[in-house]
């Protein structure tokens, strides 16, 4: 009996190992698949390297995008593990160019090949205006660069609010998570940035994003026990709790408050005010 169990266990472990390996060929350690749940949406090539860009959805869209990438050496098809990477997304408009909030690009694990970061495209492309992404990287003190157009269609639901606050500062508030909302208490993640200049969009620290989820189709019904989004550490995204009592279309009304409590934008929902001027939309 014991030996039989051992055999089954052995077969099981082997099966696991084989299936994990089959997806990626050469690089990763045999058990962990770095690309689990990711889909490649772009490949950019220059003479020396190819950069593969991945996201969970297999695309990029207006709003917050978590992007992972890896660099392949075209000479030997090996993935580079020791690159230093920076990126710069640029919106090319008729009259001007500007960037958007984006993070540093960091390696996920020391042994892995994947790098990650986020880009929050605050506006969508259109027929004449487009986004491109310039990636600069350094391998063994040699600098390289690549630039490619990135497809940023408009999001179906409102996930970004760009506005000038009562303090005159231009803010950007974006919906990050949950990707797949549930009838439950969801972990809510929100990003808050401000526009310092056309190319610089630092994270705003110490504010509070007040939330009030409502169902406009159901008499503007709200849900209990929501927790406003706040930061745990400066420079990070904001975390809160979002209660959703049923499926359907929800409007998450927002108010952005300064550390001293001053509301820089957004209205409280009352009988008369059924919607705030800044909000997110979700539907599931």
């Amino acid at each position: 009996m014991k030996t039989l169990l051992k055999k089954i266990l052995a077969i099981f472990v082997m099966a696991l190992a084989i299936t994990s390996c089959s997806n990626d060929d050469e690089t990763t350690s045999p058990v962990v698949n770095e690309l689990e749940g990711l889909t490649k949406f772009k490949e950019i090539t220059n003479t020396t390297h190819t950069i593969e860009l991945y996201s969970h959805t297999g695309s990029t869209v207006q709003g917050y995008n978590e992007i992972k990438l890896r660099i392949k050496n075209n000479a030997n098809n090996q993935y580079v593990k020791n690159a230093e990477i920076t990126w710069m997304p640029i919106m090319h408009m008729a009259m001007m160019n500007h960037s958007c909030p984006n993070s540093e690009v960091e390696k996920i694990t020391t042994d892995g090949t994947l790098y990650e970061g986020y880009i929050m495209f605050q506006m969508a492309q259109n027929e004449t205006e487009y986004w491109d992404l310039k990636i600069d990287y350094t391998i063994d003190d040699v600098e390289y660069t690549m630039t490619s157009v990135i497809d940023v269609p408009a999001s179906a639901k409102r996930t970004v609010n760009t506005f000038t606050g009562s303090d005159g500062v231009k803010y950007l508030v974006a919906y990050v998570d949950p990707h797949h909302p549930k009838v439950a208490v969801n972990d809510l993640v929100v990003g808050v940035w401000k526009m310092q200049d056309m190319m610089t969009f630092p994270v705003v620290d110490g504010y509070t994003v007040k939330i009030d989820p409502r169902m406009p189709s159901m008499g503007n019904h709200s849900s209990p026990n929501n927790v406003n989004a706040t930061q745990t550490t400066a420079g990070n995204l904001y975390n809160g709790k979002l209660s959703l009592t049923m499926t359907g279309y929800w409007k998450i009304n927002l108010q952005l408050a300064k550390p001293d409590g001053t509301i820089v934008k957004g209205e409280e929902i009352t009988e008369a005010v059924t919607s705030s001027s800044i909000y997110f939309e979700i539907e599931f």
Partner: protein, 673 residues
């Protein structure tokens, strides 16, 4: 208290109910040899025998609800013309226990539109046994009492076929009733079948005011078949199939498109010979209910919604009756496993928007295992002491992850499972000597919160106009109860005054929570079920029957109730003084009766529960019947007029004060071939 005493005094009159002692001998060959019969306190409403409705009743084909509300202990919360909710000792479904031949069945409607009594028909039943308080704890935990609906019990005998046709018509709502019953009996085998169909349009309240959405259609089929395994062993299988469609609930914002039940059981009965055990009955049962609320026929609703519900119950009981010296023992081991699920889907005005879906009952398992023991000890030939006790384990589990997640929005710490231990105890003394009867008793009982009270999610109560949310960590409701009765039973006169008092601790009610925003469009707010310190309910009834002659009888029944919580706030659905009196004349094949029935003004109403003052009313009914014998066949005819004066009225137990039926002529015919 003064008022109570006063009203006690005021009660000087008796009943329409034919109350009689229960005697459960099933197999004819086993005649009881008891010299001392235990004195029973329950009330028994006779409906009929062997699919042949009792010709003693004034309106044989009336609803079960109508039969039950004749009891002094029972009243009905009415949300329409159909499926009334029985309340026992002024307590609704959560605090009572309604069984069909000992089987536990749970309605599938979150809005209590399908009490168990709505899934059977009068033609299925022979009688209803009503027990007050803990005397009703035989098949599970209760606070207010129990109703056991007893099915027809056939006997083995000489080979015989029996065929009945029942038919009726009522003018007020054009209710058409047609039913058949076919029975076969021989020495080893019997089969009873019956079928009944009711189809009613909207009824009209007094002054010919049509009550929209009060129509209903109902079909009921039942079959019971028994086989004698040996002289003292019997096996019996039974099935009830009930389907109601297009049922209107004028007092509610929604109707019912379908309510369907399948109720099955398999019973084994053993009657040992020359043993202290006199009867051992074991039953396995299963029932399943589908209930779908529907608002598509309502002219204007803020948002259309579907609210289907499902309830499935598996269970068994094994009941042993024994007689040892002066002890009459009853032991009942019983268990049930119920699964209740209810959903709500709302359709947004914009058809491109996703449907709004939630679970209002999160697929909850209730698994109960209990043991009930009763000893009726005869002190002497005229008095006895009855002691009973029960213990049970009540286990709940939320099966649906979505349902659990939903509730965890409000109760982040709650777990899917919850186990409770329930106990009850009661003791009664009864005496009957030279026609003078009296008795008194005390009892303690507990109950677990109902699924709605523990796990309901945004359930709208149109009476209070609040959404209600359950509370999974409620304490058990516990009740201390005292009861007393005194009566006189002489040849020409029967009088009985009975009273009960309940002090219910951790009394479960919904309490407004202003921090929550209602889901239902137009609702005032949200209530969360909480436990009040305690509440007390007092009931008193007086019934009398005076026989002026063999033909002429005068019945009186008076009922009064009072219910308050620990802050002296009135509880809902507590009866004001309610009276009925009837004079019946019957001679040979002819019977006739005139009834006056009414309520005093309902002034002690529970305003915070949505009640308001209900004016007094009185209505007059009259009926007559004649029994024809044609060869070997019988034709029983009943004619009557209800609400002769076409009074427009509503009672304290009518949901949202909707009006009761106006003048109605009925005819009931039963042909027995």
């Amino acid at each position: 208290m003064k008022k109570l005493l006063l009203s006690t005094f005021l009660m000087l009159l008796p009943s329409i109910i034919s109350a009689q002692d229960t005697n459960n001998s099933i197999i004819k060959e086993q005649s009881k040899k008891d010299t001392i019969k235990p004195i029973q306190m329950q009330e028994v409403i006779v409906i009929g025998k062997k699919a042949q409705l009792s010709d003693k009743q004034s309106k044989t084909l009336t609803s079960i609800d109508d039969y039950l509300q004749k009891s002094a202990k029972v009243d009905m919360i009415k949300r329409g013309a159909y499926a009334w909710e029985p309340i026992i000792n002024s307590m609704p479904t959560e605090r009572t226990l309604v069984t069909i031949d000992g089987m536990r069945i749970f309605g599938a409607c979150t809005d209590k539109m399908d009490p168990i009594t709505s899934y059977v028909e009068v033609s299925n039943l022979s009688e209803a046994t009503i027990c007050s308080g803990q005397e009703g704890a035989c098949f599970g935990s209760t606070i207010g009492g129990s109703i056991d609906l007893k099915r027809n019990q056939n006997n083995f005998g000489n080979k015989k076929w029996n065929f009945n046709i029942n038919s009726g018509f009522e003018t007020n709502n054009q209710q058409k009733i047609i039913g058949t019953a076919l029975n076969y009996t021989d020495n080893l085998f019997y089969v009873d079948t019956d079928f009944m169909l009711r189809d009613a349009e909207n009824y009209k309240a007094g002054n010919n005011k049509e009550v929209l959405f009060s129509q209903f259609k109902k079909m009921n089929f039942s079959v019971t078949s028994g086989f004698k395994l040996s002289k003292n062993k019997l096996i019996e299988a039974s099935l009830i199939y009930d389907k109601a469609t297009d049922v209107g609930y004028p007092a509610l914002p929604m109707d019912v498109s379908i309510a369907e039940a399948i109720i099955t059981s398999l019973k084994y009965e053993y009657i040992p010979l020359n043993s202290i055990v006199t009867n051992w009955e074991t039953k396995l049962y299963f029932n399943t209910i589908i209930h779908k609320m529907d608002d598509t026929k309502r002219p204007s609703v803020p948002i259309h919604m579907d609210m289907p519900g499902w309830s499935k119950t598996y269970g068994y009981y094994s009941k042993i009756k024994a007689k040892y010296n002066k002890h009459n023992l009853l032991v009942n081991l019983n268990s049930f496993y119920n699964k209740s699920l209810a959903e709500m889907t709302m359709y947004p005005a914009d058809p491109n928007e996703n449907l709004m879906f939630m679970l209002t009952w999160p697929d909850v398992i209730t698994f109960y295992n209990g043991l009930f023991v009763e000893d009726n000890y005869a002190l002497n030939c005229h008095s006895s002491i009855k002691v009973s006790a029960s213990i049970g384990n009540h286990y709940n589990k939320i099966e649906s992850e979505l349902g659990l997640n939903s509730l965890q929005i409000l109760y982040p710490e709650m777990e899917a499972q919850n186990s409770r231990f329930l106990k009850s105890f009661s003791a009664n003394y009864n005496s009957s000597k030279n026609g003078l009867e009296f008795g008194f008793g005390a009892a303690y009982g507990e109950r677990a919160p109902s699924i709605t009270e523990a796990y309901g999610f945004y359930l709208f109560n149109s009476f209070e106009n609040y959404d209600n949310i359950g509370s999974p960590n409620l304490k058990n409701e516990t009740s201390l109860e005292g009861n007393v009765f005194i009566g006189l039973k002489k040849e020409k006169i029967t009088l009985k005054m009975a009273s009960s008092y309940f002090r219910i601790s951790n009394y479960i009610v919904g309490k407004p929570d202003t921090s929550l925003i209602p889901m239902t469009i137009g609702a005032t707010g949200v209530k969360i079920y909480t436990s009040l310190d305690y509440a007390s309910i007092f009931n008193i009834s007086f019934t009398s029957e005076i026989k002026f002659s063999r033909e002429l009888k005068w019945n009186i029944q008076l009922v009064y109730g009072r219910g308050k919580d620990f802050n002296n706030v009135n509880l809902p659905f507590i009866s004001p003084i309610s009276y009925s009196t009837s004079i019946a004349y019957s001679k040979e094949k002819f019977s006739s009766e005139i009834v006056i029935q009414g309520n005093a003004k309902h002034t002690n109403f529970g305003a915070i529960y949505g009640e308001d003052k209900t004016p007094d009313y009185a209505i007059i009914n009259a009926n007559l019947g004649y029994k024809f014998n044609i060869n070997k066949s019988k034709l029983i005819t009943k004619f009557g007029i209800e609400n002769i004066l076409d009074t427009y009225y509503s009672t304290y137990s009518d949901w949202n004060n909707f009006p009761r039926q106006g003048r109605n002529f009925f005819v009931n015919l039963s042909i027995i071939l």
